[in-house]
């Protein structure tokens, strides 16, 4: 359809004009590329293994090495290469950040659509539930969820009581999966409100009314009429949410309840390097910069996209 292609072209042109958004997008693409190619780079000896506690990584006193020389960004207190830890850390951060964003989006869009489309008591119930979730700071809620998980894991019994459907049970251990689920479970409420508001507006529009008059089912209306029109907003929200989920992942790592060591995550790197802040600041500054750059990039891109979706928002 030529019309939609030209719309897309126009969107791209608007985005291209926004230099900040482009910078954001470039940073994201670059870090994603680094994250994806890290194992390959290790294989061709461009990058060390992130967990390798190298004897040569410490100086004669047993202290970390500073940047420059064989170790481009220096080593940490265990003699591990900071550069490879920060690159491998991007794998953890980005994958968990995006997986958590997807989780949050699925939850947020579902609740928002249901509340907005059906209204009434269901709306009341879902929105009060959402607001209740918003009153608790995300990091606290995430800590509470993380606290429920033991290192030995916790088995969730999802099968209905009385039925021996044990294939539905699954054991959750502390690790990447549990961390992205936890973050996803605390990041959705912001999305619900926007989705609901848009749904409320959309369902009164003529084309929805027309579909209804033609006898379309609720599901058909939601999936064919409402949801496609929500998509641009959802994309913007998703990009912005990713900034949050990445930050939260780093926060949990810093608090020692993220992906357990020795996995290189930016948050863990900061908490482990914190003690060396006065003597070897690179242990904190390098992962810190990585977090700042990535979060900033997602925010910039998100804002750029928002300007396309909502032209009035433009400065």
């Amino acid at each position: 359809m030529p019309a939609s292609i030209s719309l897309l072209m126009k969107a791209c042109r608007t985005l291209a004009a926004n230099r900040l958004a482009i910078t954001g997008a470039l940073i994201i693409v670059a870090s994603a590329l680094l994250a994806l190619t890290a194992p390959t780079m290790t294989r061709i000896h461009l990058l060390r293994l992130p967990d390798m506690q190298d004897q040569k990584g410490l100086d004669d006193d047993g202290s970390p090495r500073r940047g420059g020389g064989t170790y481009l960004l220096g080593t940490d207190n265990l003699g591990r290469d900071v550069l490879s830890r920060v690159v491998y850390g991007a794998r953890v951060s980005l994958s968990i950040g995006i997986a958590a964003m997807l989780t949050a989006t699925v939850i947020g869009v579902t609740i928002g659509l249901l509340a907005g489309f059906y209204g009434g008591k269901l709306d009341l119930l879902l929105m009060r539930f959402t607001e209740m979730n918003m009153t608790i700071p995300a990091i606290l809620l995430a800590m509470a969820f993380a606290g429920l998980l033991d290192v030995n894991g916790r088995t969730l019994h999802l099968h209905p009581a009385g039925l021996p459907w044990h294939f539905l049970d699954f054991t959750l251990k502390r690790g990447a999966v549990s961390v992205f689920l936890i973050i996803g479970l605390v990041c959705w409420p912001g999305m619900v409100r926007v989705v609901r508001a848009q749904t409320l507006a959309l369902k009164e529009r003529e084309f929805v009314q027309a579909a209804r008059a033609l006898g379309a089912s609720d599901a058909r209306i939601v999936f064919r009429c409402v949801f496609p029109n929500l998509l641009p907003t959802v994309i913007v929200l998703a990009v912005m949410t990713t900034a949050n989920t990445i930050l939260l992942e780093a926060g949990l790592g810093y608090l020692g309840i993220g992906v357990p060591p020795p996995a290189p995550t930016w948050g863990t790197m900061i908490s482990e390097g914190q003690a060396y802040f006065t003597t070897f600041p690179h242990l904190v500054i390098v992962p810190g910069m990585a977090i700042v750059l990535t979060v900033l990039a997602f925010n910039l891109l998100g804002q750029g996209l928002q300007e396309i979706v909502d032209p009035q928002h433009r400065r």
């Binding site: 202290s63 290192v151 020692g256 357990p260 060591p261 020795p262 060396y276 802040f277 006065t278």
Partner: protein, 560 residues
């Protein structure tokens, strides 16, 4: 200056004094403890974790021991040469010729801070508490050598089980014997203690912080919360305690020992991470640092401002990984030995700036009977793999490993051990917990398979460390210090033979034989014996560290 410090520390201190006199003759010898002490001021210190208890039956932590000795007094104490001297006792005990009856006479005029005079009955009560299961003492084994101790404990145990409300007095059913038969007050100031078998370390036991004298009426008044309402005869009283934040002790004028204390108050901040402590110290907000973290060790050590202020006790602090011998896979000795061979201790030690020596056995280097000839477990991953294969482990192992993040050295060590063990196919799943959680769960039977610990001896004798940590007969279901839950009948039998031995040489030999078996059984990964360091401000005088627990602060003064 009281307390023990080993030869190397003494040497270092002497060097310090010479250094001060030579380099800085104007500010001069005030650096050494020459001028008379100054009165007044508040001594400020900080600790990483909050304290749980100031009840002598349950103290464990560094800060808990330190505070107990400020608030309470035992009958005996050590002088600066590590010799036993009287404290609440008027003089050293008279000991019967067979070494089994100890008679003490209390000093006249010793009072608890509530004003009541200390009597012989208080001494009997204070020691008896350790044997009463109601108080959950972690140190009962120190006192089990007193005649009638077993019967007393058994009777109290029966009362407890008869009255599940834990109030035997109210249920009214008392079971004989009501007292420990071997211990009684002869008159108001005389106590006689009879031991079942002679024990050369009993005087040492009575100089530990567990043997301090507590007032019965306060214990009964507060019940379980006596642990947070301490009251003793010492030169300080607890003024104020904000849980998890800070604790303040003030000078106790009615203490018999009040004149020996020079500061007006002691303020302890709790829950301060090590690196924050360093920053506070450098801003002058703390009067001393109880430990110098790896991150700042070299920087502070090389700082000319602090060069004269570092105190050191070499190799007194064993760091070990406990392998719970009651939990698979560590029920198998081969697995435990394999893990010992798999860890590169030398490399770990380098990572913490070589502040210690590689351990070959259980005992710290500073303790009598330390055996430098133990073979130890040299780094040998090939042998480790072989032993694992021999134990039937071919597909590798996964073990949860409980660690602390608060303690930098231990955390770093844990990560290195994780890498070393991964190389032989043992995957460690790190469980980062708080110190409290580690104590609660790790000392409970059957809960923690693998965890990292350290130890400071209570006095300079192998019995202390070994008896607590590797005696199978001391295993309890809760609050058990034998965290490896290690029990070997041969070792247990050797404990029975060594303890009452009066020939010092033979006694040490028996303990060495015992330690050799333990080292071979490998209930721990023997890592290293860490040096203890403390850093004081120039104005803090009379401060020393000892190679055994606890840190003492009664006699320091501030020269500002």
């Amino acid at each position: 200056m009281r307390g023990l410090f080993n030869a190397i520390t003494v040497g270092a201190l002497l060097l310090m004094m010479v250094g001060v006199a030579g380099a800085d003759s104007a500010g001069g010898l005030s650096g050494a403890n020459v001028h008379s002490p100054k009165r007044g001021g508040t001594l400020r210190l900080a600790h990483t974790s909050d304290i749980r208890s100031m009840d002598p039956t349950t103290i464990y932590d560094w800060l808990e021991g330190l505070l107990t000795m400020l608030i309470y007094n035992p009958l005996l104490d050590y002088d600066e040469n590590d010799k036993i001297v009287p404290m609440l006792a008027e003089a050293l005990p008279t000991i019967s010729s067979d070494g089994s009856i100890y008679t003490f006479r209390l000093r006249a005029g010793a009072r608890f801070s509530n004003g009541r005079e200390v009597t012989a009955e208080d001494v009997v009560y204070s020691l008896e508490r350790h044997l009463d299961p109601k108080f959950h003492s972690s140190y009962a084994n120190y006192y089990q050598g007193i005649s009638g101790a077993a019967a007393f404990t058994e009777a109290r145990m029966k009362e407890l089980t008869a009255a599940p409300g834990h109030q035997p007095a109210k249920s009214g059913r008392r079971i004989e014997p009501l007292t420990v038969t071997g211990m009684h007050a002869v008159d108001r100031r005389t106590i006689q203690i009879q031991l079942e078998k002679p024990d050369l370390t009993f005087s040492d036991v009575l100089a530990t912080p567990y043997s301090v004298i507590v007032p019965r009426e306060e214990v009964e008044r507060w019940g379980d919360s006596f642990a947070v309402h301490p009251m003793g005869t010492g030169p300080f009283v607890l003024k104020d305690w904000k849980r998890g934040v800070r604790l303040k002790l003030v000078h106790n004028p009615i203490s018999l020992f009040s004149a020996q204390a020079h500061v007006d108050a002691v303020e302890a901040l709790t829950g301060i991470p090590e690196s924050a402590q360093v920053m506070m110290f450098e801003r002058g907000e703390l009067d001393f640092l109880s430990a110098i973290p790896a991150s700042d060790f070299l920087r502070l050590k090389r700082d000319p401002n602090y060069q004269l202020c570092i105190a050191e006790a070499t190799g007194c602090n064993p760091i070990y990984i406990s392998l719970n011998c009651e939990m698979p896979p560590f029920t198998n000795r081969l697995v435990r030995q394999a893990l010992n061979y798999a860890v590169n201790k030398q490399q770990i030690l380098k990572g913490i700036q070589s502040r210690g020596v590689v351990a070959r056995g259980v005992l710290p280097n500073t303790v009598k009977g330390f055996n430098p000839l133990l073979p130890g477990y040299p780094y040998d991953p090939a042998k480790a793999r072989m032993l694992l294969a021999e134990a039937g482990i071919t597909n590798g192992l996964t073990v949860p490993f409980w660690i602390l993040q608060e303690d930098q050295d231990k955390y770093q060590t844990a990560l290195r051990v994780q890498q070393d063990l991964a190389a032989v196919g043992v995957t460690l799943e790190l469980k980062i917990v708080s110190y409290q959680a580690l104590l609660d769960e790790g000392q409970r039977r059957g809960h923690v398979a693998m965890s990292i610990w350290d130890w400071l001896a209570d006095f300079n004798d192998p019995k202390d460390t070994l008896d607590f940590l590797v005696n199978g007969e001391r295993i309890t279901d809760d609050g058990c210090l034998n965290v490896a839950f290690y029990s070997n009948p041969r070792v247990n039998e050797l404990f029975h033979r060594a303890a009452p031995e009066l020939d010092r040489g033979k006694r040490l030999q028996l303990y060495q034989e015992l330690e050799r078996i333990v080292a071979d059984d490998a209930p721990w990964i023997f890592l290293f014996q860490k040096n203890d360091y403390a850093l004081r401000q120039v104005w803090l005088k009379g401060f020393t560290i000892r190679s055994h627990w606890p840190q003492r602060l009664e006699n320091v003064w501030l020269d500002k």
